[in-house]
Amino acid sequence: MKNNIIKISQPYLMVMPALILIVGIFVGGIFLGFIQSFGYFPLIGLDELTFKYYIEVLTSPTFLKSLGFSLYISFAQAFLSSVLGIFLAIGIVTTIKKDSIINGIYKIPIMIPHTVVALLVFIQLTQSGWLARLLFNFHIIKDMSSFPALVFDQMGIGVVFAYVFKGLPFITLIVIDIVREGYNKYVKVASNLGANKWQVLRHIIFPLTLPSALSGFIILFAYSFGSFEIPYLLGSSTPKALPVEAYIQYNSIDLLDRPKAMVINMIIAFGAFILVSIYQKLYSSLKVKMPGGAL
């Protein structure tokens, strides 16, 4: 029987180190942020739980603008990355040889850190950037200031561009093998059954890539929704993306602002959770229809 106990506990012992880290620090961090968001902050004498900070944050126009901005940026970049990324995969599979160097080049942005991507975008898109110079030299704009602000702008174009720069190849990477398999395996059958090129895309390639592309979309969305570097380096001063806003509140001289930072944090985490649960519903319903595809 002693033998049996060892056997049953073995898998638990094996997952324990990783589990301790995840539960102790990761889940712990979320939980500590959670109680702080309700105003539990003994260090500065706050130990009563209250909805005050939630009400304060949720009714603040600055916050609502930030929330809208973050949602917009995350959605726009994840959507553009996914759609364009699938098309890039299709383009590469159908027109580029498998041993071509292009198969390596498209992956480069994936390994470039976000901070450096911000620099790359900055160099190109500021009003003194390369694009502005090109337009000036072709007499399309008269001077620097007539070039539209694409960085630090209210529309977040620079921010979205930077995320797409990294996200598009990521999507291409995760769908390209599926697209290739689709073309190798099923397209001949489909064309044999009389499908034209568009129908092949519509009925074979898109459905095949959908589960993976959806996973990619969610990963990109969730990442950018809580990421600090790019909106901090390329974003406007108002509205600010939520993580930037959270950090500023956290760093405020007035320690009473800290619970507000935690409220914003909780909203970021909550948003991510909702997103993933929607995804799980979608994914499992997709999976019923067609097996295969992976997170």
Binding site: Q10, P11, Y12, M14, V15, P17, A18, L19, L21, I22, I25, F26, G28, G29, I30, F31, L32, G33, Q36, L84, F87, L88, G91, I92, T94, T95, P109, M111, P113, H114, T115, V116, L119, L120, V121, F122, I123, Q124, S128, W130, A132, R133, N137, F165, L168, A222, F225, G226, F228, E229, L233, P243, A246, Y247, M262, N265, A269, A272, V276, L295
Partner: protein, 262 residues
């Protein structure tokens, strides 16, 4: 249609290369005044600062050391977990494998802002221990997932076969499991390394400026818009990551030249 697709591919590739090229140019100049499309004067100031100064190398090396250490530790922690998820059935397995994916879902900023004050109290803030601890987290989903997939691919029966042929436990591990898992370990390790190497915010907050990594070093130059120094440092940054990738690819392809496990 084909032409359209082809020009789209070349356009995308062109943008990537052009962005990198402009960055390289910026790292090489002294002056590039508006509205010139080509730099006016080349200068090695930037490259000297990035590639020629002890400070930059020292930070790069300590950063590589930190991320390397984090990588090894993450792999060691994820190895048994991945094995348990691949080969055992146990109560709560679903919940546990969901928890391991959590760092892909909830942003690290939420976690570190929430735990920062407790790290300070526990003496884990503003030092390397705390930084290593938080760096372990984002790699866990990749470590567990990638190795779990590898474990499933090799399967347990081949280990049993080795045992049947008389191999002891450590012999099974050393002669069978480890070599067969090798590509998976390298891929997971590369991923974990790059993720750790690129972290900015969590190192900044938990390290409190006391722990310097290359990501932290480079940040103010990008923030202040010093394109020449920022570009030169970025070049070094990207090159070091690229070398790691080349190395890991070499390892895997050297291995799979001899082995085709299918």
């Amino acid at each position: 249609m084909k032409l359209l697709k082809k020009s789209y591919v070349y356009f995308a590739i062109g943008i990537i290369l052009f962005f990198l090229l402009t960055m390289i140019l910026w790292s090489l100049i002294n002056q590039w005044p508006w509205p010139n499309l080509w730099p006016k004067q080349f200068d090695l100031r930037g490259l000297k600062f990035a590639f020629g100064s002890m400070k930059s190398y020292r930070i790069l090396l300590s950063s590589i050391g930190l991320s390397g250490f984090v990588t090894v530790l993450t792999l060691l922690i994820c190895y048994p977990a991945a094995r348990a998820l691949a080969f055992y059935d146990f109560k709560g397995k679903k919940l546990i494998s969901f928890l391991f994916l959590l760092p892909l879902i909830v942003p690290m900023i939420t976690v570190v802002l929430g735990i920062h004050i407790n790290f300070i109290k526990l003496g884990l803030a503003n030092n390397i221990t705390g930084v290593v601890l938080v760096h372990l987290l984002p790699g866990i989903p990749y470590g567990v997932r990638l190795m779990e997939t590898s474990f499933r691919q090799i399967g347990q029966s081949i280990e049993l076969q080795a045992q049947v042929l008389g191999a002891k436990r450590w012999q099974v591990f050393w002669y069978i499991t480890l070599p067969l898992l090798f590509p998976g370990i390298i891929m997971a390790g590369t991923m974990i390394y790059i993720i750790s190497f690129s972290q900015y915010f969590i190192t900044f907050l938990i390290g409190g400026g006391k722990v310097m990594t290359f990501s932290l070093f480079i940040f103010p130059f990008i923030e202040s818009g010093d394109r020449t120094l920022a570009s030169a440092l970025s070049l070094l940054f990207i090159s070091s990551i690229y070398l790691v990738l080349v190395f890991s690819n070499l390892l895997v392809s050297y291995y799979s030249k001899n082995v085709n496990s299918n």
